[in-house]
């Protein structure tokens, strides 16, 4: 009962604190996904080419190759006349790419020789190289058509020159492109959970000591365990709220962007995010316990911020670890809090099947760690030194 009174008071108290509310409701759930997820989605969008979209291409000597122009036109490329100074126009980004048809193009084609074409592009410019890739791909298709015609003209089966038939069979259920994006999800989840409870945990423990409101509180007829668990409960509420809002904002973010373009089959639909949230839910308990315990050791809010700031490395560590070293999901890694959730969430987004044993081990390991931390926190609150 007292536990809930403490918890309710801490929630009301901290909802009035702008800093706490900003980090719990805006920073983790809105700003982080926008900054990280948004920029990533945008870069994927930049790399992928939409062949159905109509684009314009500047061509020098367009009248020298009417059939090629006709082919480009039927492939959604409209032809513009070329700028006067082709080189500098492309270099300074006024034109993305320029296709130059040489004067002897038509005669070479007729003679059955390689017909000269120059594609002016700026490889340092992402948009220019993207446009160049699109045009090159189209030109290759055109080239193959002409090759086939030339061979047939000489009575040779065009398939003679296709000596190899290479089929790429990617057995991972994801596309390689999606890997990085998939690892973003657990990072966002865990980071915003930590940020969600960060300031509340500091305010209710170290802050209470600093304000010297702890001494009268502890002289009231209630057990110190109720005090600790009340504060823990309040932190848990904020951490959970932050986690839920993050799931919601990731869902919205990826609704707005076409995920199919990123290749592979990563999913950010409602069902996947619900599963991800459930798999991460033992972490809510763990992170809250970690925040409360660490800030209970410290004497002032400043000290607590320093310690917890260093602690921020922990949620980030698995992210970088998994980026650079390919730590595989194994039965050994599953009982480790944070690391296991990273792996489970990544697998969820990639649509891999997760063994029940892994889920159970991950939850059990995290809950045991939580219990140890909470035991430590209530021990810290029984110390007399708490008041000095």
């Amino acid at each position: 009962m007292n536990l809930f009174i403490v918890m309710f008071k801490e929630i009301v108290d901290n909802l009035r604190d702008r800093q706490t509310v900003f980090y719990a409701l805006l920073f983790g759930p809105v700003l982080l996904p926008l900054l990280l997820g948004g920029s990533m989605v945008a870069s994927f969008k930049q790399l992928s080419i939409d062949f159905d979209q109509i684009t314009r291409l500047s061509v020098v000597n367009a009248d020298k190759a009417p059939q090629l122009i006709e082919f480009l036109y039927s492939n959604n490329v409209d032809v513009d006349p070329a700028p006067r100074n082709v080189q500098s126009s492309v270099r300074y980004g006024d034109t993305l790419v320029v296709l130059e048809i040489k004067d002897d193009f038509a005669s070479a084609l007729r003679a059955g020789e390689p017909a000269p074409l120059t594609l002016h592009m700026n490889n340092a410019d992402k948009d220019s190289s993207k446009a160049a890739r699109r045009i090159t791909t189209l030109l290759r298709v055109y080239e193959q058509t002409i090759n086939a015609l030339r061979l047939q003209h000489r009575g040779i089966d065009p398939l003679t020159f296709d000596s190899l038939n290479i089929i790429q069979n990617d057995v991972s259920s994801d596309g390689a492109n999606g890997q990085l994006l998939a690892s973003i999800l657990p990072f966002l989840f865990i980071m915003s959970m930590v940020m969600g409870g960060f300031y509340l945990a500091i305010d209710t423990t170290a802050g209470e000591r600093e304000r010297q409101s702890l001494e009268p509180l502890l002289s009231l007829p209630l057990s110190r365990t109720a005090v600790v668990f009340g504060k823990y409960g309040a932190t848990l509420c904020f951490v959970t709220l932050s986690g839920l809002l993050t799931a919601l904002s990731i869902y919205t973010l990826f609704k707005l962007f076409p995920v199919e373009l990123m290749g592979g089959q990563i999913r950010f639909d409602g069902k996947t995010l619900t599963r991800a949230f459930l798999l991460a839910s033992p972490l809510l308990l763990f992170i809250s316990a970690l925040l409360i315990t660490v800030s209970a050791i410290t004497r002032s809010t400043k000290e607590a911020q320093t310690y917890l700031g260093l602690l921020m490395v922990i949620p980030m560590a698995p992210f970088f670890l998994l980026q650079f070293l390919n730590v595989r999901s194994t039965t050994m890694s599953m009982p480790i809090p944070m690391l296991s959730q990273y792996q489970l969430l990544e697998s969820t987004v990639l649509g891999d099947t997760i063994p029940w044993l892994h889920i159970a081990l991950s939850a059990a390991g995290t809950l045991i760690a939580t219990a140890v931390l909470l035991f430590l926190a209530s021990h810290l609150y029984r110390r007399e030194r708490l008041l000095h």
Binding site: I5, D13, R16, Q212, E215, L218, S219, P221, L222
Partner: protein, 262 residues
């Protein structure tokens, strides 16, 4: 009612100050404190800064446990019947320690709920206290930016919320202006007249002389003298509490020197 007998408490010094490797000597905050505080009267714990007043009150408030000696509050032992002691004791530490983002009413209400009052009882009790301590002007304002007098009133209301028989106030007049101090004195007198046992710590002589029925002089963690104001003046043959205080603490030092020599 408070009965304290031979209380002693020492602390480990801050680790940075102690020499490396050597076992640090413990700092004795309270060495030997015995005094009585009766119901219906105001007992002053008078002593300079660092004399051990706060530590003594903390031991009585069950916040730290004494190494030696014992204390009984309203028939309950501070070491064994912790929750009963807290139920009978209203403690106001020397900093108000109120929550700045809550209003006065919410601050008091929180403590009322924690002391076991239900929502309705609590609202009623908070209303009574706001009236009793004339706080209605700032009852529903957040306490950030309150004057020291207003903060003290909120903290006092919080300490009184569960209608404790015994009330301990640690330097309550610190930082109060004349009018606020007078107001607080009136409140304390009324509480004593209603039969409460009041313990009041201070380092200000006039304060204690003006208010207290019974005075315990504390110095270097030891009670130097304990009597009524008249009794202390007679025993030290002085006319003024300040002079009496000097004489009482000096005789204590002399005694200590004598025991060291022998």
């Amino acid at each position: 009612m408070i009965i304290a007998r031979q209380l002693r408490k020492s602390f480990k010094p801050a680790s940075r100050l102690s020499g490396k490797g050597k076992r640090a000597k413990r700092i004795v905050a309270v060495d030997d404190v015995s005094f009585d505080a009766a119901d219906g009267s105001i007992t002053g714990l008078l002593g300079p800064n660092g004399a051990g007043k706060s530590t003594t009150l903390r031991m009585l408030a069950t916040l730290v446990s004494p190494e030696h000696g014992h204390a009984i509050i309203d028939g309950f032992d501070v070491q064994h019947d912790v929750l009963e002691v807290r139920q009978h004791l209203g403690f106001m530490p020397h900093n108000a320690g109120i929550y700045p983002r809550l209003t006065s009413r919410e601050n008091i209400h929180y403590y009322a709920r924690l002391c076991g009052l239900d929502n309705r009882q609590s609202q009623q009790r908070v209303g009574e206290l706001i009236e009793q301590l004339s706080m209605s002007d700032f009852a529903d304002r957040r306490t950030a930016g309150f004057s020291q007098g207003q903060k003290t009133k909120v903290a006092l209301a919080r300490a009184l919320v569960h209608q404790p028989q015994t009330i301990m106030l640690d330097e309550p007049t610190n930082g109060l202006d004349v009018m606020a101090t007078r107001g607080l004195r009136d409140i304390i007198r009324t509480l004593a007249a209603n039969g409460h046992c009041i313990v009041f710590s201070s380092h200000i002589m006039q304060e204690v002389a003006a208010l207290c029925d019974h005075i315990a002089i504390i110095s270097n963690g030891v009670i130097a003298m304990e009597d009524t104001l008249q009794g202390i003046l007679q025993r030290t043959a002085q006319t003024d509490l300040e002079d009496a205080f000097v004489v009482a603490t000096r005789s204590l030092q002399d005694n200590a020197l004598d025991t060291n020599r022998s």
